[in-house]
Structures are given as structure tokens and as C-alpha cells.
């Protein structure tokens, strides 16, 4: 269940992790993309941090919406609208429920509507989909998240920039999957599920 405290904590931890892994994420994006995923996410989470500090939203919906708006307006590229849409859909649903399972499911649905990708196309969906399932089943842990991230390694990309390298995309972890992995490990750390 999301609360103002654990949601803020989650985003703070996620920001810190993204800033720490910025170069690694861009490196992942180099062989199969354009090498900017770390920069993109870093720019976005910095903006989220600043906006939350300034606006001090007092409810979960406000936090999620501010996060969505900052990601949408500061990231650009492919990951901006995807992460942004996910948070926007979660924000919308948060007036009805604060349960993590349905919220993440709404986020995933938003990502899929926005990007038209399916499971198995080597995108962040390959982390989001198993995570949503595991939350519903009550089985989510760090190992499950890491396995999902790793699973993208053997896939061939057919969406996004990585699709242009064709078979050469096999053997590399998808950068968006990796950043989504951080999103969910920090969610666990923030105690959102407990």
C-alpha cells in the first residue's frame, strides 16, 4: 500500500540509484542503442527530486502526478513517455486505490498502450510484466527482479532503437529493463509492499 512517506522514500531511493548507475545505464545503451539512457533517466530523476522538494505534495496522487509530469517533460526520447505514462496512469488510479498491485498493473497497461510492445520484445516491459504478476502472487523479491532483468539478455529486440541492430541485440541486457529493475528493487527497499 502506497503512503506519502513510503512513496517519497521510494522515489528518493530510485533517484539515488539512477544517479549512481547513470554511466552503467548509458553503457548498456551503447551497443544496442544510442548510449543516452543513463543521461536521460538522470536528467528526469533530478527534475523529479527538485519538483518534489519544491512542491511538497501532500498526497500520493500529487506525488505520482508530479513525478509523471517531470519524467514526461524532462526525459524525452523513448523512456520519457514510457515512464511518464506509467506514473500518470498510476496517479489516475490512485484516487480509487492505493494498492500496489493494481497501480503497477495500470502503469504497465499505460506503457503497453504507449509503446505497442509485447512481452519478449526486449524492453522494460519484460521487467514490468513479471513484477506485476509477482506482486499479485505475493512473491516479489530482489531475485525475481534480477532474473527478469537478466532475461532480456537473450532476447532479440524488435521495438525501439535496439531493433535496428537486429540479431546483434542478443547478448546484451536491455537498458530500460535495467532501469526498471532499479525502480522495483528500490520499491522493495522503501517498504512499499510490507
Amino acid at each position: 500500500m502506497l503512503t506519502v512517506e513510503n512513496t517519497l522514500k521510494w522515489l528518493e531511493l530510485f533517484d539515488a540509484k539512477i544517479q549512481a548507475e547513470k554511466d552503467y545505464l548509458s553503457e548498456l545503451d551503447t551497443p544496442i542503442g544510442d548510449g543516452d539512457h543513463g543521461n536521460n533517466m538522470s536528467r528526469g530523476l533530478l527534475a523529479v527530486h527538485d519538483a518534489l522538494t519544491k512542491q511538497q505534495p501532500t498526497d500520493v496522487q500529487g506525488i505520482l502526478k508530479t513525478t509523471a509530469m517531470m519524467l514526461i517533460s524532462k526525459v524525452g526520447g523513448a523512456s520519457g513517455p514510457l515512464y511518464g505514462t506509467a506514473f500518470l496512469e498510476m496517479a489516475k488510479l490512485s484516487s480509487t486505490t492505493l494498492e500496489v498491485g493494481p497501480l503497477l498493473a495500470a502503469g504497465l497497461e499505460g506503457i503497453q498502450k504507449r509503446g505497442h510492445a509485447q512481452v519478449g520484445e526486449k524492453t522494460l516491459i519484460d521487467v514490468w510484466a513479471p513484477v506485476v504478476k509477482a506482486v499479485e502472487d505475493g512473491t516479489l523479491d530482489v531475485a525475481a527482479i534480477e532474473a527478469a532483468v537478466e532475461s532480456t539478455k537473450d532476447m532479440q529486440a524488435t521495438k525501439g532503437r535496439a531493433s535496428y541492430v537486429g540479431e546483434r541485440s542478443i547478448g546484451h541486457v536491455d537498458p530500460g529493463a535495467a532501469s526498471s529493475g532499479y525502480l522495483f528493487t528500490t520499491m522493495l527497499m522503501a517498504g512499499v509492499l510490507s
Binding site: 544510442d34 548510449g35 543516452d36 543521461n39 536521460n40 514526461i72 517533460s73 524532462k74 526525459v75 524525452g76 526520447g77 523513448a78 520519457g80 513517455p81 514510457l82 511518464g84 505514462t85 504507449r114 509503446g115 524488435t158 521495438k159 525501439g160 532503437r161 531493433s163 535496428y164 541492430v165 537486429g166 546483434r168
Partner: protein
């Protein structure tokens, strides 16, 4: 990396400032954005707004095509990164003169998603926003295997023809229909002699040996379909014309428009020599070339190389639209 710049993270902001300050009678910056629009009393002669944009690094695309008879506004993203929906949304609002706004989007996942989000935002304002996704780069396999073909230099023909019809007063439905008619007839393929260096990255996206070229490279340095030793211009022209001929199912007597586009660091001299070879090959096919254009239009920073765009002119009216004078910096 040797670049004339200050803080690389501010390069797009400074570029847009330099641009609008250089052409104050033609362009203005939309406040709070890195979008550029033409100076004109939109209320006075209301027309469908034509808006495009994308990552920066392709100058004069897109801002250089803003002006009477082409784009109403252009949105400049970070280098090789799609602009964000809020900026696109501002451009849509600024370009709307009550007759709707048409978006010309290059087929990259980021661009498509950001423009679609902006479209959703504008729909809430009751602006009639429609769009086309341009995917002229035949180097890429079709969308079963990839995100689909990329949008490259051929996009400029879309800007030109739609802009001409919009100026003439065509409605948004007509523009939309036309866009869907034109786009499948535009095909492009490129060859790179060197990679491009993104300012914030500081080293080329890929490296080629001193005697090596790569066919089919994308305008952000996406890998192409073959590397080989550099050969003469005739040889390069034969490869690229061959691919385009096949893609167009070219037959004698058909009419075409042809654009040789420099990727950034290739001198015009070489581009003219290349066009000379292209025109020889097309003459040998007994097709009619009704429109030709040579220069740096859709660049990839400092990449060396050229792309070749061939558009099939299935409607006799299109060439007049390509020929019409415009007041832009880049056309």
C-alpha cells in the same frame, strides 16, 4: 572531439537562441520552449498549422524549414533525442489558427510516443490534431523485425508539399489524406564515410577505417547493412540507386523527384559529383526526373556521407508544390 561550443549540456538552448537571433524577421522562439515558429500573423490568413520536430543535430532540419510555405513551427529536442510532449504541445497551440494542426513525425519510438502524447494533450484543448509518421529509410527491414523503417531526409519532401498545400488553404482532412498518399512514395538510403560525434558524448558513435564506408547507416549513427572499401562515386551511386529502384519497382516513363542530401561534413562538390552519377543511372532507366535538389538538409552532426531520396511523383501536381518558392532558411 573538436567542436565550437560552450557547455555541451546547453548546446541546444544556445543553438536555438543563435538561430532566432540571426533571423529575427523570420523566426521566433515559443516562450519557455526550444520550439521555433514563423513570424506571421496567423490570424490574418488562417491556415492549417504544419508542425514537425525531433532530436537536434540534423540542422537545418527542422527549424530551418519553418517559414511561409513550409512548417509553421518546429520543436528542437536534445541532440538525437526526441523533444518532450510539453514542448510539442506548446508548438501545437502556437501553430493553431483555428483550422487544426498537422504533425509530421519521423518514425523513431521516442518521437512517435512524445508526439502522440502531445496530440492527446492538444485534443483536450479541442484542437484538431492529425499526424503522419514518415518512414522513408529503406535500409531498415520492415516492422515485423524492427520498430519499422526510420524517418530520414525524405521527411523534407513531406514538409514541402504539405506546407505548399496548407498555404494554398487546404483543410486538415485534405492535408491528412495527402500526407498518406505522399509518404509511401518517398524512399531514402544513405552511405556514411565517417561517424557523428554527439557533443555530450565526445567520441564518434562508430568508427570506420580510413578506406571504409558503410551503407544504410541511420541519421543517429544506427548501424547500416554493409561495410566495404570506399570506391568511386559511380559505384556508390549504383548501389544506392539500385536499392531505391528495387524498392520503387521503377519502370520506364515514371516521374521522380530526387534529393542528394549531405550528412554534414561532405562538401557540396562531392554531392554534385554524386548527383551527376545518379542522374546518369536514372537516365539509363528511362525515367523522368522532374525535380532535383542537392545540399545539406537532414544532417547528422559532423558525419561524412550522403543520402539519396527518390520520390515517385504519382500525382502531376506534386512537382509544382516542390518548385514553389518558400521563405525558409534551409530549403
Amino acid at each position: 572531439m573538436k567542436k565550437i561550443m560552450n557547455d555541451p549540456s546547453q548546446i541546444v538552448t544556445e543553438m536555438v537562441q543563435g538561430l532566432v537571433r540571426s533571423y529575427p524577421d523570420q523566426l521566433k522562439q515559443i516562450p519557455g520552449t526550444e520550439a521555433v515558429m514563423k513570424i506571421a500573423d496567423l490570424k490574418h490568413r488562417p491556415q492549417v498549422g504544419i508542425v514537425s520536430g525531433g532530436g537536434s543535430g540534423h540542422e537545418p532540419t527542422h527549424a530551418g524549414f519553418v517559414g511561409d510555405g513550409m512548417l509553421t513551427a518546429a520543436v528542437c529536442g536534445q541532440v538525437f533525442t526526441s523533444p518532450t510532449p510539453d514542448q510539442i504541445y506548446e508548438a501545437i497551440k502556437a501553430a493553431d489558427a483555428g483550422r487544426g494542426v498537422f504533425l509530421v513525425i519521423k518514425n523513431y519510438s521516442g518521437d512517435v510516443m512524445n508526439f502522440e502524447m502531445a496530440k492527446d494533450m492538444a485534443a483536450m484543448d479541442d484542437i484538431d490534431v492529425r499526424s503522419i509518421v514518415v518512414d522513408d529509410d529503406i535500409a531498415v527491414e520492415n516492422s515485423t523485425y524492427t520498430q519499422g523503417r526510420r524517418g530520414v531526409a525524405g521527411t523534407i519532401f513531406v514538409h514541402k508539399i504539405l506546407g505548399a498545400y496548407a498555404r494554398q488553404g487546404a483543410g486538415i482532412e485534405a492535408i491528412e489524406e495527402l500526407a498518406h498518399q505522399i509518404t509511401p512514395n518517398i524512399k531514402t538510403i544513405g552511405v556514411a564515410l565517417s561517424g557523428a560525434t554527439v557533443p555530450e558524448v565526445g567520441k564518434p558513435g562508430f568508427e570506420l577505417a580510413p578506406d571504409e564506408i558503410e551503407y544504410g547507416v541511420g541519421i543517429h549513427g544506427e548501424p547500416g547493412y554493409r561495410r566495404e572499401k570506399l570506391q568511386d562515386s559511380k559505384h556508390l551511386a549504383t548501389e544506392l540507386v539500385g536499392k531505391l529502384k528495387e524498392a520503387h519497382h521503377m519502370t520506364a516513363g515514371e516521374h521522380f523527384a530526387v534529393m542528394v542530401n549531405g550528412l554534414g561534413a561532405t562538401p557540396l562538390m562531392e554531392q554534385y559529383v554524386f548527383m551527376n552519377d545518379v542522374l546518369d543511372l536514372l537516365a539509363a532507366e528511362n525515367v523522368e526526373v522532374d525535380f532535383t535538389k542537392v545540399g545539406n538538409y537532414m544532417t547528422s552532426l559532423d558525419m561524412a556521407g550522403v543520402s539519396l531520396t527518390i520520390m515517385k511523383l504519382i500525382e502531376p501536381g506534386w512537382v509544382a508544390k516542390l518548385d514553389e518558392p518558400v521563405t525558409t532558411i534551409g530549403w
